[in-house]
Symmetry: C2
Subunit: 670 residues, 2 copies
């Protein structure tokens, strides 16, 4: 290295050139605003009734005091509402407001230098140091007088400020003026109407999307309506589903979700276990949508009619259940769209239609639409209208199949279009793909998302994943922890036995505010296609009968979980999980607690379904101001018994054959 | 909690409403671009010759392959240059380009779906699975033909594509077509000229500021010119400073920095040790700028003339030194501006000028200007022109006094104005204040910044702080580790003795790429004002004589440090510090290494100046692919001896009275 020797200057122009004219703007800095998803390109998400907290770094030069407001409004409203911010620490400011509508909001921040507060602090410091402040008080009187001459004051403010100025005028000595000027009355008046010097608005208006609460808090149960007869020899109907509603209600679920209910194609129909050679009478995959009987806005005739479906929706509502439908854009080769709109499909050089594939895998019973070229915008409208058709039929939740294989701008547009018409419609993204795509689907509008939960089994995996979900991701990505799906028969459950089902249901229901199971889970069904993460004799390809009373089922535990979820506000948000020390890698201990600490659950789960595990663990006494040697009452929410925990460190033994999980409500003293 | 019962829909309009017309844009996602400081509001900083690496998350729906380029240009240029990006992992892409000019740049990203690459991967997978690909090859031929009919091809590209299409035409069988289409030649041609489907440009053009290398790599020495006579009875002159240049050069410094050299006021002049009652002949604080003899563009007459100053600048250049001046906006009450521009100052209700203060502290010998009201823009221009005056006199580095007490928009404007005229002018922010303000000054343009280094003494403090500086902050904030200043006589050094000076100089010179000392440090001067972090008999208020040969000085060590810095490229950037395991909290071990690993230093520092410390530590063999039981050669850069380190774990003993620090160059095998 040579010394960085000075180089000759390369001045473009001499000094005294006019240069840019400074306008002085930006004296108060507002930055690092949170939430701000992707620099304001994506909306933060909340639900109706939430308190939205906004924080930012706010500061200015010198010693002058600053003040700040959050400005917020419904996106459709013109005027901003205001919520004051206060200094938290180290130039970080925060404030909050409540959202009451299922709608789009916007927010931003205003900050300014506060001459009155600055003046008051200066005089207080000088008085404390015994300095003469006569001139400073005269400066304060001047501040108050100037406030009364500001333009556009309300009549009330004008009267109050005039009164203050007049009273200051009549006071002879500075001490009396100080007493008045530093009073709470003057401080309130000056904070509201005093000069807001160097008023600065944050340069972005940030989007906020507020959903109805079900977008964050829901318990899902998935079944195939065609199996609802519980007789493999008879195709189920919507009426059979109606007959099953009490069962689902008794399990405590909120959402009853159906895979596609549309007519199924016959060309290349799949047989049992995804067999390319179906037997006569095999019903085919429900995802091969479309036949001469109709496509995405039609009902498979054997299930019933649209009126039957509407009756089912109404009956579900009566049972406290909401129906969710699958939205899968696959078409069977028999879908009416293929003849009506060949421009929506891909055709080979030999004139044949291109089947769906993920080379070298082929999906012979479906074709994909495409979204560009001659299909833009007609297919976009057709798909939106298919969704709106079911919205008209009373469906307000859609589970979207494989959204990551369709264009992101399509989903952004579709969800906005549907939510413009009904902001209460919720879309769940069934994307099991690379993490950034999963996040992006949430950013562009999906209100709820499938997750990697089924593949997170160890303590460190669960801690890491839940921590990630609750962090920055939690602003826009709402997890739904499905414990199984028709496509996923988790390896863990294939060998875990009942204890594993109890543990995984507990984790799903209490580590996320939304969870779900596909029927059979409550029966501890886990027979796999050998060596695969799939179910043997998958219900996707055949009509199944289930023995819902079968021995060893965990229906009572599932019902208890859903009851506990409804009775404990701490479980309504997924972002409040705090993991606790438990000195055994097979025991997961965590606290779920509301921000107000008025509901707090301590949960202990044995992650090892095969062995008794014992762990020392910490009861989070510190959260309630209880010393380490203090005590706290607790209620076992499964057994209903109450007891007291003395001291911070305790030992628990969790037996897979008896009680592999504990859910305790903590009841702080007083 | 009640169940979230479905609520009645609140649809605004029925289905089939026209809604928004989709345009299909945004199919390729480009996000999380880095560097992007504050969402693109602030420039990332580099120096001439740097390789700038840009990364981003880039992905699209489905299985289609994407490709991407960085687009970059001088801010003053019209056309973009391109640098290709490649997939790093997990949808993260990266590329790089070299910056050659001391100027403003911009960069952004383009990405697209690559039909040719996607087609090729698809066919390869199917061929590997033994599937018939005749139709797929026909589709590939079609892709190549379509490329040749694209508009606006260069004549060369047109000829090559026509040739490819013609050759494909003559080939009878699909296998031969595949061989040609999958050849490197065709791949190169199609990558350059094939369809770029769904071409997407990142929505921001990000700013990048490229400085001359001294902005990041510099060694500063501070002295008071008026003390350069080395005779407290005689005011030093610029000629005295010229006589001291060999001393500073022999210590190896690059930058010679002077506190203000302007006329000093007499009103309320400070005496020795900040005394309010000066003795006759006391020279006053150099920061009380301005007298009837002139202000910010004048020289204190006892120092010499402007011509003398120019001679000094030239002489410094001949010694490989660059002069840095202080820019302090304080005015003495005698500054000519006060009479000429009363509108630039604050006046009390009694008609007196308002002195500078930080209540309850008062600074009786200075007044502050203000920047708004009638002072905007005239004071802005006057201050800019004062800086440009010294730029004209050959000064290209300014150390700015207390910038955090002046408006941020003023600095942003001033630095841009000066750099418009000479992009090589460097501003160092002397802000010791709250962290967010210090960062903000760097974001708005300061090329270099003082730091908290003088207050970071323990191992954990140093590791945390250096790690913070090298992280996201390192994109815009360039630390200058001053080991002391006229204002800061660090508590650590007041009791550390010589070993502490050796350790702190070593840390400053090798943990940051810029460092500095104020004269006296090399003499281990640390006599404090009792109980204060200041020097007794501060040179700020009096003319001092120093015995530069005094016993126990560390001149040789300082010279060695600066020599080592020049000879080792690893020390030219502050962002490459890797801390190493050393199992003793009093021993700091770290690696400094170039990205190419062609220069690597292992540095060991005893942080305890009073006791011998022994530590086991790790030699980072893994960085060079050497196994834990392997060996690496090393050179002691202070003693000049070579030796071999066998194995990963070693033990070192560092004796404060002998050698408290080690600086070794690692020489990997081969």
């Amino acid at each position: 290295m040579k010394a960085s020797a000075p180089r000759p200057t390369r001045r473009k122009t001499a000094a005294k050139a006019p240069g840019r004219v400074p306008d002085g703007g930006g004296r108060v800095t507002i930055e690092a605003v949170w939430p701000e998803v992707d620099g304001g390109r994506a909306a933060a998400k909340r639900v109706v009734g939430d308190i939205v907290t906004v924080t930012a770094d706010i500061f200015t030069d010198g010693h002058e005091k600053v003040a700040a407001d959050i400005l917020y409004r419904l996106d459709s409203a013109r005027d901003w509402l205001r919520a004051p911010m206060r200094l938290l620490e180290n130039d970080r400011w925060g404030g909050s407001f409540r959202v009451e509508e299922n709608a789009a909001y916007r927010y931003t921040i205003e900050a300014w230098r506060d001459p009155y507060a600055s003046w008051r602090e200066e005089v207080e410091k000088k008085r404390a140091a015994g300095q003469d402040v006569t001139l400073e008080i005269a400066e304060g009187v001047h501040l108050a007088q100037r406030a009364s001459t500001a333009p556009a004051l309300s009549p009330t403010a004008q009267a109050l400020l005039d009164d203050l100025a007049a009273r200051l005028d009549t006071l002879a000595d500075a001490e009396a003026q100080w007493a008045l000027l530093s009073s709470g009355e003057a401080a309130t008046l000056m904070a509201a109407h005093g000069e807001r010097a160097h008023l600065t608005r944050y340069d972005r208006e940030l989007p906020l999307w507020v959903d109805r609460p079900a977008a964050r808090f829901s318990a899902w149960y998935e079944l195939f309506p065609r199996s609802a007869s519980n007789d493999p020899g008879r195709h189920g109907t919507f009426d059979d589903v109606i007959a099953r509603l009490p069962y689902v209600r008794d399990l405590g679920f909120d959402v009853l979700y159906f895979p596609p209910i549309h007519p199924i194609g016959t060309t290349n129909r799949k047989g049992k276990n995804n067999n390319l050679k179906p037997a006569p009478g095999d019903p085919g995959s429900v995802y091969a949508i479309g036949s001469p009987e109709g496509g995405h806005d039609a009902i498979h005739p054997e299930l019933g009619t649209l009126d039957d479906f509407r009756r089912l929706v109404a009956a579900a509502h009566e049972h406290g259940l909401e129906i969710a439908l699958d939205f899968a854009i696959n078409c069977s080769p028999d879908h009416p769209w293929i003849k009506a709109h060949p421009e929506w499909f891909d055709w080979r050089p030999d004139g044949t239609i291109k089947f769906a594939e993920n080379p070298p895998k082929k999906y012979e019973d479906i074709v994909n639409v495409h979204f560009y070229g001659e299909a833009l915008p007609s297919i976009w409208y057709a798909l939106r209208d298919a969704v709106l058709f079911w919205v008209d039929a009373g469906v307000r939740i859609f589970r979207v199949d494989n959204p990551h294989t369709k264009p992101l701008p399509f989903w952004a547009w579709l969800i906005a279009e549907v939510n413009d018409r009904d902001p209460g419609v919720i879309f769940l993204a069934e994307a099991f793909t690379r993490p950034k795509m999963m996040k992006k689907l949430a950013k562009i509008g999906y209100q709820q998302s499938y997750t990697y939960f089924t593949w997170r089994n160890t303590k460190s995996e669960l801690v890491d994943y839940v921590t990630e979900l609750a962090g920055e991701m939690g602003e826009y990505y709402r997890p739904n922890f499905f414990a199984n799906t028709p496509d996923i028969n988790p390896l863990f459950l294939q060998t875990s036995g009942r204890a594993g089902f109890v543990a995984r249901a507990t984790l799903a229901a209490t580590l996320s505010s939304s969870w779900g199971i596909y029927n059979g889970f409550e029966l501890c069904e886990a027979t796999p296609l050998p060596g695969r993460e799939e179910y043997l004799d998958s219900e996707k390809y055949e009509i199944k009968a289930w023995d819902f009373d079968r021995e060893g089922n965990i229906r009572d535990h599932v019902a208890a979980l859903n009851r506990i979820r409804r009775e404990n506000a701490a479980l309504t948000d997924f972002r409040n999980v705090k993991f606790l020390n438990a000195w055994n890698d097979n025991v997961l201990a965590y606290l779920r607690m509301t921000p107000a600490k008025d509901n707090a659950l301590l949960i202990l789960v044995n992650l090892d379904p095969h062995n008794v595990q014992t762990a020392d663990y910490e009861v989070p006494l510190w959260e309630f101001g209880v010393p380490d040697h203090g005590w706290i009452d607790a209620e076992d929410l499964i057994l209903g018994i109450r007891f007291t925990l003395n001291g911070k460190i305790h030992r628990i033994t969790l037996d897979p054959d008896d009680r592999p999980v504990m859910i305790w409500r903590l009841i702080p003293p007083g």
